[in-house]
């Protein structure tokens, strides 16, 4: 590639293809674009002969926008985003929906653009486009639950964008610079605004509900796409702006632990994956918080590996949903008979996420664990260790076990479409390649931000991990045998779909879920309350409601007089 292309952000290739997809009535053209665009983006990505370019700058309204900053931190994130876009393109080949095709391209392109953004404003613009484009992937599912979930998703992401922009402006006012570099929380208000803005996208505890709310409601392909970009973009932003903030260690540790409990009792397998996504993010956030060279490497490597195996798992569950029509654990089982390839690929993904040695999760997570221990964060380290076992519990074993084995549901759905299998195959191959002891993990480590010569395959690493895995598996078996493991029958209680339909419930959802588990009557109470609340809102705001109805003009005139009195008082007081 000639050097002239070295300053064009690969994001534009994907965005352009998104635009063309939107205009193209032929799905053949669209599919070709979805495959070709990531390839073009990749070529653009490798065009610069050296890292550290900072191109694509232009000026508008007196502000300089820098759209392409390729350095060692943005390199791994950029590369994996392009790979993810490519995999999604293959996985979605069978789908004939112009809206999702184009939304997915826009979404991937804008996430890539955000990673390459050199200043806060560019970041904000792409940040917002990811939110707006991705919501269509949820809405496209077409159920009323998904539409409501999409609304809540959109609202919270717009809030995130607004906080980011507010923070950027305050920062601008304070420092006079919009460059996006290390910010830290010490700068005061600006730092906190940006931090929370990013935190929403990174699904910090109590800001995480949108994730479990929306991903399971997305379309089959939508969930795969969604799982890749938004949260990792936030991890990148944290690594860029807040590396080494100690509070992140604790936030990350909590993030790894608490979803374990939910994931274990959850019935909807895609929701289980959403919880485990949250748990995985915790590892990365924690690593960013530790902030040493090794830890940052760990975060980047984890994000890189995680996108692949999480996408693989969502692909597997997507294939099941596509063929069997449900991903409720209680309604599945025994699918390995008719979907053998899907089963194998899903197991590879499940083992990867559980950090099985010689699979990609292991080489990534090892660095985070080492870095945390080296810096002396003992309690967070223990939490991470516990969470690692939990991951195995809910993602490593529960997903493949309930979906493909367990009791036979007598369902015999057909094997996944060929294009899905290809996508899953490539992802599985990558999972194995990235951990391959002879050239695989070395390559992964070579693209990370720092050169360290770290070796994951030491005897103690491998052994510790094996012990952990065996212990966790044993726990699963014992619990399952003794009937203590929350079985899939519990799913009927956990089916909270009705709550999602109520407006404004995203925020209190976590609380209601906890209450719901206390018993049926609590659930009933919440429903009654939500109805009441809904009714009150309607009473005030409905077109015929108190505030909005066409009130007789006389009483309206009273307002005029009241305001006049206020104005007079103001004028008199001042005089």
């Amino acid at each position: 590639m000639p050097e002239i292309f070295a300053h064009i952000s690969p994001a534009w290739a994907l965005m352009l293809s998104g635009l063309l997809c939107m205009l193209s009535p032929s799905h053949h053209v669209r599919k070709a674009l979805m495959i070709a665009a990531p390839v073009v983006a990749f070529l653009l990505f490798v065009a610069p002969s050296t890292l550290g370019v900072s191109g694509g700058t232009f000026e508008m309204m007196g502000i300089e926008f820098s759209t392409y900053r390729l350095d060692r931190l943005s390199y791994p994130f950029g590369l994996i985003f392009i790979i993810a876009a490519f995999l999604n393109g293959i996985y979605a080949l069978h789908e004939r929906n112009r809206l999702t095709d184009s939304a997915a391209q826009f979404y991937a392109g804008s996430a890539l653009g955000a990673v390459f953004a050199g200043d806060m404003l560019t970041l904000f613009v792409f940040w917002e486009i990811t939110a707006i484009s991705s919501v269509f992937l949820i809405w496209a599912n077409g159920t009323s639950a998904s539409i409501a979930a999409g609304m809540r998703y959109l609202a919270i992401h717009v809030l995130s964008g607004v906080l980011l922009m507010a923070g950027a402006l305050v920062l601008w006012g304070d420092t006079g610079s919009l460059a996006f570099n290390n910010i830290g929380l010490d700068v005061g208000l600006a730092g906190w605004l940006i931090f929370i803005g990013i935190g929403i996208k990174a699904a910090f505890p109590f800001l995480h509900n949108w994730l479990q709310d929306s991903y399971p409601n997305a379309t089959v392909t939508g969930a795969v796409v969604l799982s890749a970009f938004t949260t990792k973009m936030a991890i990148y932003a944290l690594a860029r702006g807040f590396a080494g903030e100690e509070i992140l260690v604790w936030i990350g540790a909590i993030m790894t632990v608490f979803p374990v409990f939910f994931a274990v009792v959850e019935n909807d397998l895609r929701k289980v994956l959403a919880y485990s996504l949250n748990n995985q993010l915790g590892f990365m956030v924690c690593a960013v918080g530790v902030g040493t060279a090794l830890a940052i490497n760990g975060a980047a490597a984890h994000a890189f590996a995680h996108i692949i195996y999480k996408a693989l798992l969502f692909m597997g569950m997507g294939a099941v949903l596509h063929r069997a029509g449900t991903v409720k654990a209680s309604e599945l089982g025994g699918l390995f008979r008719s979907m053998p390839y899907t089963t194998v690929f899903t197991i590879i993904g499940a083992l990867s996420i559980s950090a099985f040695p010689f699979l990609s999760g292991f080489v990534a997570k090892a660095m985070t664990m080492s870095a945390t221990a080296q810096e002396g964060y003992i309690i967070p380290w223990l939490m991470l260790l516990f969470a690692s076992a939990g991951v195995l519990e809910h993602s490593g074993i529960k997903i493949p076990y309930f979906a493909f084995f367990s009791h036979d549901s007598k369902r015999r759905p057909a094997e996944a479409p060929f294009n899905m299998l290809v996508a899953m195959g490539i992802a599985s191959a990558l999972c194995i390649f990235l951990a391959w002891p002879f050239g695989g993990y070395q390559w992964l480590y070579s693209i990370l931000p720092n050169d360290l010569g770290y070796n994951p395959y030491t005897a103690d690493h491998v052994l510790t991990q094996y012990q952990l895995l065996i212990a966790a598996t044993a726990a699963f078996v014992i619990l399952r045998m003794s009937g203590l493991y929350p079985s899939e029958r519990r799913g009927t209680i956990l089916d909270f779909d009705w709550i999602y339909r109520k407006f404004g419930y995203g925020v209190v959802r976590w609380l209601t879920a906890m209450l719901g588990r206390l018993g049926g009557h609590a659930e009933h109470g919440m429903e009654a309350r939500s109805r009441l609340w809904n009714k009150r809102m309607q009473a005030v705001f409905h077109p015929a409601g108190a505030l909005s109805r066409a009130v007789p003009s006389g009483s309206l005139a009273i307002w005029t007089t009241v305001l006049l009195a206020v104005a007079l008082i103001i004028a008199y007081r001042a005089g």
Binding site: M60, M61, L99, F124, V125, E128, I129, I132, F136, W139, A140, G142, I147, G150, M151, L154, A155, V158, L159, V162, L163, M165, A166, L169, V170, G173, M537, Q538, F541, H542, P543, G545, L547, S548, A550, V551, S553, G554, L556, A557, W559, T560, L563, L564, V566, A567, L568, I570, A571, Y572, R573, A574, G575
Partner: protein
């Protein structure tokens, strides 16, 4: 550009553009009323609008190159005679009103034939012209009482225009009636305020008033006048909670009237308020600052949020947008309330951009209403498939309304954000953020209906895809495109908005 326009203009237009701008539509209104055929009246309307647009362009070019100037009617020197004063603050309004008037008039025949009895077409066009003349008159005049008269000329013809929607929905009548009552109260308050100022100073010329009040200093009569004028104009510009006349008037008026009013009427009153607040009343007055901080800005913020929430719950799509208009007025008022050059400039920038968004949205909804009888939000189902071009225009307008980056709405919200930040008004930033999020909900409802719901079936078959007539498409898309263009190259609105603040605080326009 400016030189080009000036070189085009003949000599008489250069000297008399300002008076012709008002006189021409007034006379044409009488002519249109006398014509027996609706089409002929429409021809008059389009010709007059085009001429007015040309005159406004001349005035804009003159102000931008040579600064403010005034035209003395009949050669009576101000403050005795009536003066038309054209400066940076109102030249943008003139351009806006005549541009929107022109675009809307192109669109008129399709919509009017659909909604109004044939026999009433000439009268309708006559009222439209007079309303247009009134709005221009409010913007251009330099005399307080003259301003009241023009305000009422435009309002009274607006009542008639709104009531003409009765053919489609009888609630137009009650809407017009309520508007009449409240509008008259507002105008009367305004005239009381002017009376108090006259008592205190003995003059009605705005420039003269400003000079004399500055000399005179604070006194009770001025304070009372101030309160009456702010509330009177507040009613006309739909300041929350004085907005109650607006939703129904917009929802039930004929579609082209809604598009025209939403883009101009409240804006002109807003301009008048800005002129009184910042130019006529001396900024040294103690109550001025207090009113900005404790009345204008808070009401703006409350309006932004409360009206947005109300918009979320509307079922009638034009009422939804009408509430959103109230919310957008809140943004503009907040800009005024900030009270700095940046704030006022941001307020005016939002004013211009909002005219483009709401103009495009209401025109597009009008097209949908003509083709499919859309009035409720749920009627929008599947519009993305049945009327793709119209739906795309709605989508662009909605994006701009939300403030998606790359649209005009973003530019002005950004400016407002910055202005609030410069002042250290973090609560205002929070309010803007909250209102933006609420906007996502009501806009999302429309977008979701348009693109994600299947089109309703008609007699067992899916509704056919329709294209709106060209005369509807062109103005609609000019406005929709303006939303995108001003999102990237905001030169025109930014220049005009800066000219507005420069007219108040000095500096190059």
């Amino acid at each position: 550009m400016n030189e080009f326009i000036l070189s085009l203009a003949p000599g008489w237009a250069l000297t008399h553009a300002s008076v012709l701008l008002v006189a021409l539509p007034l006379i044409a209104g009488a002519i249109a009323a006398a014509l027996p055929w609706g089409r002929a009246a429409w021809g008059v309307v389009v010709a007059v609008m085009a001429a007015s647009l040309f005159f406004s362009a001349i005035l804009t070019a003159q102000v931008l190159t040579g600064g403010a100037f005034s035209y003395t009617l009949g050669g009576w020197a101000p403050p005795v005679g009536i003066e038309y004063r054209i400066d940076g603050l109102n030249v943008g309004m003139l351009l806006l009103v005549s541009a929107i008037g022109f675009l809307v008039s192109l669109y008129a025949p399709e919509a009017v034939e659909d909604e109004i009895d044939k026999g009433k077409h000439p009268l309708f066009y006559a009222a439209f012209l007079i309303c247009f003349a009134g709005l221009l008159g409010v913007a251009i005049t330099g005399d307080a009482f003259n301003l009241f008269v023009f305000l009422e000329i435009s309002s009274i013809s607006t009542y008639a225009l709104v009531a003409m929607g009765a053919g489609r929905d009888r609630r137009a009548l009650t809407a017009a009636y309520n508007y009449l009552i409240l509008g008259t109260i507002g105008a009367t308050f305004f005239v009381i305020g002017v009376g108090f100022l006259y008592m205190a100073t003995g003059t009605l010329n705005l420039v003269d008033l400003a000079a004399r009040m500055a000399e005179l200093g604070d006194n009770r009569a001025i304070q009372v006048g101030f309160a009456f004028i702010v509330i009177g104009l507040g009613l006309k510009l739909a300041m929350y909670p004085l907005h109650v006349w607006l939703p129904n008037a917009y929802a039930f008026a004929p579609t082209m009237v809604t598009a025209f009013l939403a883009a101009t009427a409240t804006k002109v009153a807003f301009y008048a308020l800005a002129r009184f607040l910042f130019i006529v009343f001396d900024q040294g007055f103690a109550f001025e600052e207090l009113a900005l901080v404790w009345l204008i800005a808070p009401l703006g913020a409350v309006g932004m949020i409360a009206a947005s929430i109300q918009a979320i719950f509307q079922t009638d799509v034009r009422r939804l947008l009408a509430y959103s208009s109230v919310a957008q007025v809140g943004y503009m008022l907040l800009g005024l309330g900030i009270g700095t050059a940046a704030g006022v400039s941001a307020g005016f920038l939002h004013l211009f951009n909002h005219a483009a968004m709401k103009g495009a949205l209401f025109l597009a909804l009008g097209a949908a209403s003509v083709c499919y009888g859309v009035t409720q939000v749920k009627d929008l189902r599947g519009l993305g498939r049945t009327m793709p071009w119209t739906a795309a225009a709605i989508a662009i307008g909605c994006a701009s309304l939300m403030g998606v980056p790359g649209t005009a709405g973003f530019v002005s919200k950004w400016a407002l954000f910055n202005a609030a930040l410069d002042n250290g008004w973090y609560w205002a930033i929070a309010a803007i953020a909250a209102a933006s999020i609420l906007a996502f909900f009501y806009v999302g409802r429309m977008i979701q209906m348009i693109y994600l719901q299947p089109a309703p079936e008609r007699g067992g078959e899916p509704a056919p895809a329709l294209r709106a007539p060209w005369l509807v498409m062109i103005p609609m898309w000019i406005l929709a495109a303006a939303n995108i263009v001003f999102g990237w190259y905001a030169d025109l609105p930014v220049t005009l908005a800066n000219a507005a603040s420069a007219a108040i605080w000095g500096g190059a326009p």
